[in-house]
Symmetry: C2
Subunit: 251 residues, 2 copies
C-alpha cells in the first residue's frame, strides 16, 4: 500500500507552538524526518521511527521522505516555522519535478502550515509587520547576491517593512553588512530593527536596535531581522514595557 507525506510546520519552537492540525498529523506519523534539531522538537509518540539528518541536505532528505512514503509509511517531514517559507516544502516539489513520473507513484503530499519565524518574532516585539512587508532570504547559496540586493533596494525604496531570513552563516560572513548598507541608503538611522533569535525555545532573545548602529555580532544564523518602514515606531505600553509597531494608517 502506498503511504503519504506531510511537510509539517512546527512553528517557532515545536510543542506549544504547534497547531492542532500539525500535532494530529505528527501523532499519526509512523516516521518523522528532518534536520536533527527540528526532529527533537516533535512531541514523543510511541513506536514512531525518527530519522534526524544534517543541515543543507534538503533534496536528499526530501527524496528519503518520499521513498519511505512510497514504501507505505505515514511520513512527517518537519520544518521549523512554516514549511512554505524558505524551507522544506519547495525542496519536496523540486525533487518531485526532477524525478521520473513513476517514482513515488501514488504518494499523497500535503503541506501543513505553521507560524513562521518572522511573525513569531514580530508578535514578541509588538507588530512591526503590521503594514505591507517583504520576506527576503539573505542567503546567496542558491541565488546570486545581485538578486538579493536588487530585491532589498526595491523593497526599501517602496517603504516596505522587511523580514530578513538567513542573515549570516560561517560561509556567508559579509552579506548582512552589505544588506544593511543598502537599507541605510533608504531608511533613517533611528529606524527600529527587531533581532529575534531562537524564538519560541530557549535561549529566546528578542531585542530592538536602531538601523544606524546595529551591532553585527548580535546577529546569529538563527536570527530573523525585522526592519521597520518609515512609519514604524516605538510605543510605551501601559505596564511600562515598550513595543515596536507599524501603524495601519499612512501619515
Amino acid at each position: 500500500m502506498t503511504g503519504r507525506l506531510a511537510v509539517v510546520g512546527l512553528g517557532p519552537g515545536g510543542g506549544p507552538w504547534l497547531t492542532g492540525v500539525a500535532a494530529e498529523r505528527l501523532r499519526a506519523a509512523t516516521d518523522v524526518v528532518g534536520y536533527a534539531p527540528y526532529v527533537a522538537q516533535v512531541p514523543p509518540a510511541p513506536s514512531q521511527a525518527r530519522h534526524p539528518s544534517d543541515n543543507r541536505e534538503e533534496l536528499a532528505r526530501a527524496a528519503f521522505a518520499l521513498d519511505l512514503a512510497a514504501a507505505g509509511r505515514d511520513v512527517a517531514l518537519v520544518s521549523s516555522g512554516d514549511p512554505g517559507v524558505f524551507a522544506m516544502a519547495s525542496a519536496v516539489f523540486e525533487v518531485v519535478e526532477s524525478a521520473p513520473p513513476e517514482r513515488w507513484r501514488g504518494v499523497a503530499i500535503t503541506v501543513v502550515p505553521g507560524v513562521t519565524a518572522a511573525l513569531a518574532g514580530a508578535a514578541i516585539a509588538g507588530a512591526p509587520l503590521g503594514h505591507d512587508w517583504c520576506a527576503i532570504s539573505l542567503s546567496d547559496n542558491l541565488k546570486p547576491w545581485a538578486v538579493v540586493e536588487r530585491r532589498l533596494r526595491a523593497a526599501a525604496s517602496a517603504d516596505f517593512a522587511l523580514a530578513l531570513y538567513n542573515p549570516v552563516s560561517r560561509a556567508r560572513p559579509w552579506q548582512l553588512g552589505r544588506a544593511l548598507d543598502v537599507l541605510r541608503e533608504h531608511r533613517a538611522p533611528d529606524t527600529p530593527v527587531v533581532l529575534a533569535t531562537d524564538v519560541g525555545r530557549p535561549p529566546e532573545s528578542v531585542r530592538v536596535e536602531a538601523l544606524g548602529g546595529l551591532p553585527l555580532d548580535a546577529v546569529g544564523s538563527r536570527t530573523v531581522l525585522l526592519v521597520g518602514s518609515s512609519t514604524t515606531r516605538r510605543v510605551r505600553l501601559p505596564d511600562g514595557a515598550e513595543a515596536v509597531y507599524t501603524p495601519r494608517r499612512w501619515p
Copy 2:
C-alpha cells in the same frame, strides 16, 4: 486588580488551526472580544463573556478590550490568521499611543501569533511563497492608492512573489483590476495566481488561475491572492494532483 490583554491569532479557521499557546490563552480568558465571525471561531469555554462587534470598528474595539483589562478582566482580543498582519495588533498599539499614559495603566499586552491567511492558502496550493515574497494590502481605506501602486510596481519589478490581502470590498470595486494591470506589466500571462478563499473553514476554496485571464468575479472580500514570481511553476504530483511552487534555486 489590573487585568491583561492578549491579541490572539486564530489561524485560518480557529479550532484545529489554533496553536497550543493560543488555545491556552483563550481557555483562560474571562472575556473574548472581536469581529463577530471570528469570536464564533473560538472554542466554547464555560462562564466566558463574549463581546462580538461589527467590522471596521478596530480602534473602538481595541479601546473596549483595554477598558475591560483595566477593570481586572483577562481579555482575549481575537483576529483571524495572524494578529500582526493587517489586523488587530497594530490597532491596539495605535490606541495606546494616542491615549493619555494613565489610561489603562498597568495592563500587560501580549500578542499571540497565528498562521496568517497567505501561508495557509499557500500550503494548500503547494509552496508558491517558497522564495522571496511581499505581503500587500490592496485596501486604500487607510493609505492612498498611489502608495499601494508604488509598492506593487516595486515588488513586481524585483520579481518577488506577492500575497495580496483585502483585494476587494463593496466600497473598493476597481482596485483589484488596477493592481492586476500593474502586475501584468511585469509578469507573463501564464504566471500562476492562487485564489484562496475561506481557508481553514467552510466553504474553503483554493483555485489556480493564470494572471493573464484571471476572472475578477472569482475574488471575494475573504480571498487572498498569491501571485507567482517569474520562477513560480505548476508541478504534477505523484498522486496526480497539481501543486504550485516557487523553487529555492535561481535558474
